[in-house]
């Protein structure tokens, strides 16, 4: 039996239609994906529909500026055991995996303050996810320090070590 190319195209076509339909009927899903790319493109974006969900990425020098001026609170999104081992000096720990808006620590935080979330490095997305969650809970100024703790250590900036 030879391959019937029409069937291949048919299978792919059915997948595409189902995918699009599914996304269409699941409310706002494509926008849901957009939230992630908003994080990446926030700096240059003007015409996104939902500005409240935009989270800005900051680089090491900006993060260091905030750190020096003591303007912002650094939030470590990693596990508590990683945090207890070492973290950016004066940062607090809110593990992303069991995030709960009723957490007493989160209730203590001022919603108008400046917060910078970080995790281990460029390729971990805990900090982005935590920032999205904080943002949806009404925190106005949340930034993501995208290069992460590894870069911070590499540059020998102040850290706490056990």
């Amino acid at each position: 039996m030879n391959i019937n190319y029409k069937n291949i195209i048919l299978i792919i076509f059915i997948s595409i239609t189902t995918g699009l339909l599914f996304n269409f009927y699941k409310n706002n899903n494509l926008l849901g994906y957009r939230v992630n790319s908003d994080i990446e493109n926030a700096a240059k974006s003007d015409n996104y529909q939902d500005k409240s969900k935009i989270i800005r990425l900051i680089n090491t020098s900006e993060a260091k500026d905030f750190f020096n001026k003591n303007d912002a609170l650094f939030i470590d999104a990693r596990d508590s055991w990683e945090f207890s081992d070492s973290h950016i000096l004066n940062s607090i720990n809110i593990p992303e995996y069991n995030y709960n808006p009723n957490n007493p620590i989160i209730k203590l935080l001022d919603k108008n303050g400046i917060y910078i979330t970080y995790c281990s490095a460029d390729d971990c997305d805990l900090s982005r996810r935590l920032a999205t969650k904080l943002k949806t809970n009404g925190f106005k100024n949340v930034f993501v320090y995208s290069e992460g703790f590894e870069k911070w250590i590499e540059l020998r900036y102040p850290i706490f070590r056990k």
Partner: protein, 144 residues
Amino acid sequence: MKFLTNKYFLFFLRFLLGIVFIFAGIEKINSPNSFFNSINNYKIFSDYISYSIVLILPWLELFIGILLIFNKYIKECLTIYMILLILFNILVFSAIIRGLNIDCGCYGNSINVKASYTKIAENFGLFFIALYLFLYYKNITMNE
């Protein structure tokens, strides 16, 4: 070598391929955002291509898995299956070469598999099973 064309053995292989893809597909449909992040971590695709992959790929995997289990359009499914596996392997390999330490995003959120040579070996295993079924499809039908 009789067992190689044994119909229960062949059924088992087909079932295995199907289950792997159905599982992968459902997991990705379940957690589109984390799948999107996994794709973005490879740092190859632009956002719009990533959206398209998130929308389409899981369903393609799911349908192929179902068709394989129900023994319909076997050759066509296996062709797509092998092409997908080769593409996945190229992606994972490129990630390893560039020294990215990332989740491969193969099974969505539930199982976190690192992009590594083990993953490539696993994909090649599936690839050769698919190739074997593809080449001996005629014998399979004769046997059944």
